[in-house]
Symmetry: C2
Subunit: 228 residues, 2 copies
């Protein structure tokens, strides 16, 4: 086998839309925060950017509307988004099968980690909500220079597990997760639970697409994920 | 030409996700209302049902979760959704180009109407928000026996304009709009502004898919919509 390819893949999991049902609340929070910054954008356009780094999301949306943000405005935007998302936190639930999938991976002694484009501050309550077992490596926006669609988050997750990215399966709900997986030379697997269409995820390079973590767990043998 | 086919099509417009940026708020309102009824469902599954009649949406989701609703529970669910959606009404905006598209159709003397799966009570503030010109026929859930994906709403819209449905272009953001258009033998045109993926709309039979009303207006000649 070429270097790095293995018959016992490690697993890297995205957080928002992959383990927690939080994408729609994020989209509405970004929409309101952008409006406070004087940028009017339809929610669907923002939805299609969720999973990108917040900085990149703001930049790309600002470019689209021709409204360039100063550093101060960008910082305020991120703060407003965090505050408006926190206000909806009580409505966020774990996705079906999220906890079961994590427990199954741990029980099978599959090396696994979480890698999210979110900052630790906004990810922390979600990590608590899904009760990530202690000892699981967690990579957030704060740990890398560039978030998805750059490969850094998946690469850092693989590095923390001590495995090459080529031996990892990277699971995410957004096009950015899958594009980042291809750049990292990991195998990207999509879930529909973030609200993207199946074809969008396939066209971004998904090896397989499942409905949500519960559906992935039901079909985990298709991915060659096996006990250690 | 076969009966009904014309070189001067009428236009039937959906409301939520087609003229108003209200789909994400509807999805979250349904999610919370369903949870109050003891039904836990991920937001993306609800999002994929928006645009159906509320009754059908509740029934299909209840069937999916194995939780059959009594008539009393179903009525309470609809009331809770209406209340929770109304609470978010201040965040809802007209979609880009919605007003321009309506004015353009009126100016060109194209016969046009609005046909929505929503009840008049929840549609009324949205119709006001986009400032529908007076005299435009408005068909709501209350006017027909079955909402989309049944063809009734599009058929009623065409009837109110005094044209056969085969001569109409039916514009909507959801798979249900497009399936209903095929059943009505109208030409279905999709918009991405409700947050479905382009391929989902194409697979449901969209003749063309545009980003939002502004993008449709920019390409209106592709549809053969012309001045009277």
């Amino acid at each position: 086998m070429p270097s790095g390819i293995t018959s016992r893949p490690a697993v890297l999991l995205d957080l928002d839309g992959t383990l927690t049902d939080s994408v729609y609340q994020h989209a509405i929070a970004w929409c309101k925060a952008l409006e406070l910054a004087g940028i009017s954008l339809s929610v669907w356009r923002i939805h299609r950017r969720i999973g990108m780094s917040g900085g990149l999301l703001a930049e790309s949306l600002a470019r689209e509307t021709g409204h360039e943000l100063t550093e101060h405005e960008a910082a305020k935007l991120r703060q407003d988004h965090a505050r408006l998302f926190a206000a909806q936190l009580a409505d966020v639930r774990p996705l079906p099968g999220a906890k079961d999938l994590m427990h199954h991976l741990t029980k099978m002694q599959v090396p696994w980690a979480i890698a999210t484009s979110g900052a630790l501050a906004s990810a922390a309550p979600l990590l608590k909500l899904v009760a990530v077992p202690s000892g699981v490596p967690i990579i957030t926006r704060d740990d890398v220079e560039h978030a998805k669609p750059s490969p850094d988050l998946w690469l850092a997750g693989a590095a923390r597990l001590g495995v090459p990215a080529e031996s990892a399966i990277a699971v995410g709900d957004s096009v950015w997760d899958l594009l980042a997986a291809r750049r990292a030379r990991a195998l990207g697997v999509g879930v529909l639970s973030g609200g993207y269409g199946q074809e969008e995820l396939e066209r971004a390079g998904a090896y397989r697409v499942y409905e949500d973590p519960a559906d992935l767990l039901l079909h985990i043998d298709e991915l060659g994920i096996r006990a250690g």
